[in-house]
């Protein structure tokens, strides 16, 4: 009897936790199908008309494309920089290696607001006008530490002999890196890329501070919100959420699943 009670209690606790995390999202998604002008109860519908409105709104679709571009390019750059720094720190004896590693990780612990402000001031000083490029730079700054940490953790001594073997067979440093090391670390690199992608995809503060005419989707949603609540914001929010879920599922199926198999 007692065991059953404990099970019920555990299940209840889990339900409350998951509810706490996902109820807001569930409400958001639910009222994106609202057949009316306000995303508040009672729920009438379902209707897809707000999704239609989103797709008809060129400023939203433009922002969506902008977000995709920024996320793709900044994640690729963050992965490349993260991989190179991890390679350097893992394979060479560098002066003050521990300190250098801490320096690379440091942006992790600084709030996005501070990073955004710092970049804003710097770009102003050097006369760089705000654009999608500056947003991308900001996202590279926040995602490089993440990529570095993921990739660096997968460097091990067991790969050293494999790289030695490649060198022994005549490969140059660059060939070793591109033909041997990077492919061996592909799972970690892919994980870094997709996580960076999701972080860049829904990042707001830096994108808000560093963009001007062309904006990313979170910034566009924010300006939409200023004109009041509207099921259209729910619809676009749901699209963003769905996309993140999609990426996570892809990540789980490709990278983590494969990792477990090996």
């Amino acid at each position: 009897m007692r065991g059953t009670w404990a099970n019920w209690l555990g299940a209840g606790y889990a339900a409350v936790i998951y509810g706490f995390i996902f109820l807001p999202v569930a409400v958001l998604v639910l009222f994106s199908f609202q057949d009316g002008r306000f995303p508040i109860p009672p729920f009438n519908g379902p209707s897809l008309k707000w999704y239609q409105a989103v797709l008809a709104d060129s400023s939203l679709t433009d922002a969506l494309v902008n977000s995709l571009l920024v996320a793709l390019i900044s994640s690729a750059a963050a992965c490349l920089l993260g991989f190179l720094s991890a390679y350097g720190l893992a394979r060479y004896k560098l002066p003050a290696a521990g300190f250098q590693r801490a320096l690379i990780i440091a942006p992790f612990t600084v709030s996005y607001l501070i990073i955004g402000l710092g970049l804003l001031i710097m770009f102003n000083t050097f006369g760089v006008s705000r654009s999608l490029f500056t947003v991308g730079v900001g996202h590279v700054v926040i995602n490089t530490p993440l990529c570095f940490a993921i990739i660096y953790s997968q460097f091990g001594d067991h790969q050293v002999n494999i790289e030695r073997a490649a060198r022994d067979l005549g490969a140059s440093d660059l060939q070793i890196m591109t033909l041997v090391t990077a492919p061996m670390l592909l799972p970690a690199i892919t994980a870094g890329f997709f996580l960076s992608f999701t972080f860049s995809w829904d990042e707001f503060i830096i994108a808000f501070l560093l963009s001007r005419f062309d904006v990313t989707l979170p910034v566009e949603i924010w300006s939409l919100l200023r004109s009041g609540l509207n099921p259209k914001t729910n619809a676009v929010g749901s699209i963003v959420f769905l996309f993140s879920v999609f990426i996570l599922v892809v990540l789980e199926l490709t990278v983590f699943r494969k990792h477990k198999a090996q």
Binding site: I162, R164, A165, A166, D168, L169, G170, A171, M184, L186
Partner: protein, 365 residues
């Protein structure tokens, strides 16, 4: 595709530790040489130096007469087969074996053809499209061998390649390694701490200890005529009886031991310079021990008591206690048909020509 390797006065220090001390060695072209010794003896350090992964503190390495001491691994006519095989996990076997050829700019069809040939040579035909993680340890080993041989090195370096295999597979791979070496003719330098493996595959064995070469020679010589205590003790079991030289003539040497005076032909000295009064050791292998009542022409070391017997299939391994000295144990391999009913008249007998006499604490290089 083979070359002589010369180690010329190589010394190497790791901080204050002397890993190799003035090593001189020549390994002939096409030989299967085995560097043998306990862990920490410097054998792997020496192999890394021949391969170019480590620069010696002093001395030179010559391959085929060319000084390669300061060349990187890729510029040397050597390839290394690593202990953990170090296969490229993301590549097919064909790509693994063809990697060195790819680095040399060979086209894909050509290198695939070569790789297939090599996989066949090592006994893995039609496995080219598989990945390393699908293979067993012994199969990975073969792929590593094929990969190292693909670039036709003059010298192949093998770093304890059989260490991770079980006994039966190890014996089988020893035979195959040797057969492949005969076929390709490449100089093989193989590192191991297993003296049976060394004797099974080597043309020459180089016994190392404490960063120095103790004895280099063919397996029979290393085993039957070791020239120092370490080599004698490391190459299987050996018994040592201490004594002093009474007199040396051009033909024979008389040695005074606690077990009587024994005369040997000077050939047992193995060329070592020994003078009257010098302390020496008489050394003999367990299989050279005979128990009996009549000495005949054998050296008689007095009465013994058998304290322990174990059956090893091919022989009985016995521990004997000498009555005269008491505390010293002698190991003997006695026949399968051993009968120990009457122990009262057993005497420890060794043919003088089976024994060797070693200077004490001296490596008579």
């Amino acid at each position: 595709m083979t070359a002589e390797v010369t180690i010329d006065r190589i010394t190497h220090r790791f901080g204050g530790f002397v890993a190799l001390n003035d090593v001189n060695l020549t390994i002939g072209a096409g030989e299967f040489a085995v560097l043998l010794g306990p862990s920490g003896c410097g054998k792997t350090t020496l192999l890394s130096m021949i391969g170019g992964f480590l620069n010696p503190s002093e001395g030179r390495i010559l391959i085929g007469g060319n000084d390669v001491t300061h060349l990187p691994p890729s510029a040397r006519p050597t390839t290394t087969m690593f202990q953990d095989y170090a296969l490229f996990p993301h590549m097919s076997l064909l790509d693994n074996v063809g990697f060195g050829l790819r680095m040399r700019g060979m086209s894909r069809p050509q290198r695939n053809a070569r790789a297939e040939g090599l996989l066949e040579l090592v006994g893995l035909p039609d496995a080219g499209s598989r990945k390393p993680h699908e293979l067993s340890g012994g199969q990975r080993q073969r792929v590593a061998l094929a990969r190292a041989l693909a670039v036709e090195p003059d010298v192949l370096l093998l770093d304890e390649p059989l260490g991770a295999l079980d006994l039966k597979l190890r014996r089988q791979m020893q035979d195959e390694l040797k057969a492949i070496q005969r076929r390709v003719g490449t100089t093989f330098i193989h590192v191991t701490h297993d003296q049976e493996e060394a004797m099974a595959i080597a043309d020459v064995i180089i016994v190392m200890n404490g960063g120095e070469v103790q004895h280099a020679g063919v397996p029979e010589e290393i085993y039957l005529r070791p020239n120092n205590h370490f080599t004698a003790a490391f190459m299987g079991e050996a018994n040592f009886i201490r004594g002093d030289v009474l007199q040396v003539s051009s033909k024979s040497v008389d040695i005074q031991t606690a077990l009587g005076v024994h005369r040997f032909a000077v050939s047992v000295l193995n060329g070592a310079a020994i003078g009257t009064g010098q302390t020496v050791e008489i050394c003999f292998r367990p299989e050279h021990v005979r128990l009996g009542a009549n000495a005949g022409k054998s050296c008689d070391f007095g009465q013994v008591v058998v304290t322990d017997v174990a059956f090893f299939g091919t022989h009985h391994r016995c521990l004997l206690q000498l009555e005269a000295t008491g505390d010293q144990k002698i190991t003997a391999h006695l026949p399968q048909t051993l009968d120990l009913k009457d122990q009262s008249k057993l005497r420890l007998l060794v043919k003088p020509s089976d024994a060797i006499v070693l200077p004490l604490n001296g490596s008579s290089k």
